[in-house]
Symmetry: C2
Subunit: 555 residues, 2 copies
């Protein structure tokens, strides 16, 4: 059996030897490769995937202003109001009055923000692409306070925008108009952790990274990992059904979230905060709130199943001569690495060119049209290395992989990861970026990039594709010197129609929020959207929870 073959194990890559294969396998050249990196490289997974400038455009209409959107470092004043940019009509919710503020002050003294300066950061998304004009931020500490707030708002017909770490990318986390911002920032208590079952129960405002640090001390990790982990709240992660870097290994939040506590629009608390792996008593209500982006209820606490912290992590960065070989390498890799495979990312050569040009990062592997990044996480370093080595032998022998390097120590792993994770940043230096986050059957993943490149020709500066191949998640990015209506028209709705033709999803992991809600029809049939609207009406008949988001209006 190949798996237990007598091929001598090559352990030279145990500690970042920079093993590099040349195409003339089986002859190998071991060469110490350097990954040079610009300052800040080691901030890997810190809001990666988040561009510093993005396309933001109205649904089926032009943005009112043509000025380029602002980077994350722009001041809040420069961001055009969402209502103006998108020409949205305010729904007939009540206006916040002084007596409302007085009521909230009684409920949570000192945790009611009305100061305009303090309000600014809550009104603008991280991308600086949408801006609301809320006059009021509330910072409850308990579920009871959230209940009191919502009961009051429901009676008064005041709209509410639940907000976690405000790291969303589709405008779901900030108000469109003057919705009251209900921030979970002070709901950051860990309720319990059971080391036997690995089940963590915590309030919704706990920061993902803090939870992970807490768990690591006890030999566990969170089952999800995101670029925004330093800021995002677990409640927001669950509300948006965040995907991220560990999904390939630990599955989606649909399986790992075991329980939720949710406050409904009318203020009633729904306790589904079970800490059980199995519970078949009635319908699984919590699932409706996972991924509903705060439109059906406010998540106040989460129970989540956490995996063991892996004892060993290895990374391989490989070159492939075609996308077909990227796919075949994936199936080979999954068969041979099996249970230790924890990431399979891919990127095309254009991505690497941009990373080298704009960020001065130097890849140890060059000259291939495609690259893959494979991570293993396991409980035994020796075993994992042996499996990885067997896999590399096989893929080199068969010609699937023509070049590569591997790393096991943390610093070099981070450097290699940065080649993948800083693509987004590199793109923002390339010009105006049209960004798409698409799910497709894995076999079709790159065809969209090829078709788009052919379609756009010289009108685009660069058309690049990268993403979580193991999850069938493509990040399609198109750059141009500046924003252009005609280019946008060449891209949309073509990109959505193409995705729909292959039964893909127009939002793999970012959600719909404010920006994409009108495009839902490309991924969901009318009957499904209609049913969603009926659920919304049932749970929030006045529509006060995160209005203007997720679903197109019923009319």
């Amino acid at each position: 059996m190949g798996i237990s073959s007598a091929v001598p194990r090559c352990s030279v890559w145990n500690r970042w030897t920079g093993l590099r294969w040349l195409t003339s396998f089986p002859r190998r050249t071991l060469a110490q490769q350097r990954v040079t990196s610009a300052p800040g490289t080691l901030q890997r997974r810190k809001l990666s995937g988040v561009p510093t400038s993005v396309v933001s455009r109205p649904w089926r209409m032009r943005p009112r202003g043509r000025r380029a959107l602002h980077t994350a470092s722009s001041s809040f004043q420069e961001v055009m109001l969402t209502s103006e940019r998108y020409g949205v009509q305010r729904l007939p919710f009540a206006l916040v009055s002084d007596s409302d503020v007085a009521f909230f002050e009684r409920v949570m003294p000192g945790r009611v923000i009305t100061n305009p300066e303090e309000l600014k950061s809550f009104n603008v998304d991280w991308l600086k692409s949408v801006r609301g004009c809320s006059k009021l931020v509330l910072k409850p500490q308990t579920t009871a306070e959230v209940s009191q707030v919502l009961r009051y708002c429901y009676e008064r017909n005041l709209a509410v925008n639940p907000q976690g770490g405000n790291t969303g990318l589709v405008g779901g986390s900030v108000p469109v108009f003057d919705e009251i911002i209900l921030s979970t920032v002070l709901m950051n208590r860990i309720v319990s952790f059971d080391k036997v079952s690995g089940i963590l129960v915590c309030q919704a405002g706990c920061i993902l990274e803090k939870l992970n640090e807490y768990l690591e001390e006890q030999g566990f990790i969170m089952p999800l990992d995101l670029g925004a982990k330093g800021s995002c709240h677990i409640g927001g992660n669950v509300a948006t059904n965040a995907g991220g870097l560990r999904l390939l290994r630990y599955g989606s939040l649909r399986g790992t979230v075991l329980g939720l506590e949710v406050v409904l629009a009318d203020g009633s608390a729904l306790d589904c905060l079970a800490s059980l792996r199995k519970d078949n008593t009635g319908y699984d209500l919590k699932q409706l709130f996972i991924g509903s982006e705060g439109t059906l209820g406010v998540i106040t606490a989460v129970s989540i199943l956490c995996p063991q912290k892996p004892k060993a992590v290895n990374l391989a960065f490989l070159g492939c001569q075609s996308f077909a070989k990227v796919l075949e390498t994936f199936t080979t890799c999954r068969a041979m690495l099996g249970e230790i495979l924890s990431a399979y990312e891919f990127m095309d050569e254009k991505c690497m060119e941009l990373v080298e040009r704009h960020l001065k990062l130097s890849s140890p592997v060059t000259g291939s049209p495609f690259y893959v990044l494979i991570e293993t996480s396991g409980s035994n370093l020796t075993h994992d290395e042996e499996k990885l080595n067997n896999f590399l032998e096989q893929t080199m022998t068969s010609g699937l992989v023509t070049d590569g390097t591997v790393a096991t120590d943390d610093k070099k792993i981070k450097m290699l990861w940065s080649l993948r994770e800083r693509i987004t940043e590199a793109l923002t230096h390339d010009g105006y970026v049209y960004k798409y986050d698409i799910s497709l059957p894995v076999g079709k993943l790159y065809d969209l990039v090829t078709d788009m490149r052919a379609r756009l020709g010289q009108s685009a500066k660069n058309v690049v594709g990268y993403g979580h191949l193991g999850d069938g998640n493509l990040h399609l990015n198109i750059t141009a010197e500046s924003y252009s209506h005609s280019l946008l028209d060449a891209i949309e709705p073509f990109v959505y129609e193409w995705t729909a033709r292959y039964n893909g999803s127009i939002s793999a992991e970012h959600g719909l929020g404010f920006k994409k809600k009108q495009f839902i029809k490309y991924s969901k049939p009318d009957e499904a959207v209609f049913l969603m609207q009926r659920f919304k009406a049932l749970l929030d008949p006045k529509g006060i929870l995160n209005p203007y988001k997720t679903l197109p209006s019923s009319s």
Copy 2:
């Protein structure tokens, strides 16, 4: 590091050496152990967990008859009608008329069953504990036919009982009165399988075992495995959110089911049959149907993510001196076996006594108050054995485990599994069995058995506990010479109240069906049940889908 310690690897257990440790570790005695078994042992996982006689009792009332329930081999005629036994009132649905039958004959010629003899097996559950009196079984082949049937039934106000393999244990799969049985038995087509993504799409009536066989030929397996796999339908598995033997490793159907096609009560088809790992476009409607036991819609097709077939499987059967040590062995095992752990089952010595006494099975490990069965599944036999050996070294050294045996070849693995899986069968030979399927926080799992044993004293013959410890799932069984009201009163509602006190679930994996629907309040708050009822009313306003099941009546 312990993981990469230089301790020489012991490979003697590579091929069923029957390695057995005595308590005076590090001295070991290697003794060839035999597992004797009665004929039929190798039918492991074949409807395991399914008793041949069970308690069936009304909600808060006495059964009308006192005669013992019948075994699976009893004739259908002997099973008392559910409506009589439980004193249920028929809801005012229409009666099936000749013109109805004629209509269905036009829709699906030759697939309409009205012959009383043929109808019998569809009207009685596998346990022979509940019986309906349906006059009509329909066997659609397509979703369009299911739509036609339901549209017609909805208009005519005819009640419908969706039925898969009819292997459910809580009376959810057979009619209570004369509901039309809509069988998925002819909807057994595999639509597609993508070897790159591992995603299978198939009709709801595919038999689980057949799907697994199909996948194994391609190097994959189904993410779930059940005792009833030879009969159960994947649609029924999803409709009941089946747990089973692989849940510890591959997670629940909440995470592995990627898409569903469902026909709603009014006959409209809802296409959520995505084959994508990531899709964040609106609410995840399919989740509502998973585990809703056919009360919200009829699942007609399933898209499911399938894992690679493991290349190596090992089994260890170990003795522990206390339940605390069973728990500590679990945490040690999870840390050291990590990604290859695929099952962690436990059973008390009473279970083993009954298996030996009634089935003449001889355990190679004796003399301990508790036993655990640990299965590993991985991609490299040598690595897996080494990990298992390291774990066994450690648990023996620390005294967590005092005795044990291991197996790697398939036959011996099945024999060891039979010690665990035939407990249910052994119990049925011990007398009248009161059965409970409970989820609890892992640390509390056995306390319920201890408390129950103390409570019942001499009034019970045996009180035993076993189950999926890794999932927090206890099978509590109480035997007596014969059925007794007073014993039942001593058990219930005590068992439910005890479970509720520790936030457990009164149905871990079997669902509520007909038999347990009135006990939902022990695991779900009133607000949740009320919300479930509202969802039911929204999706099935006439209540024609699987009436009398899952939820207590709204009144």
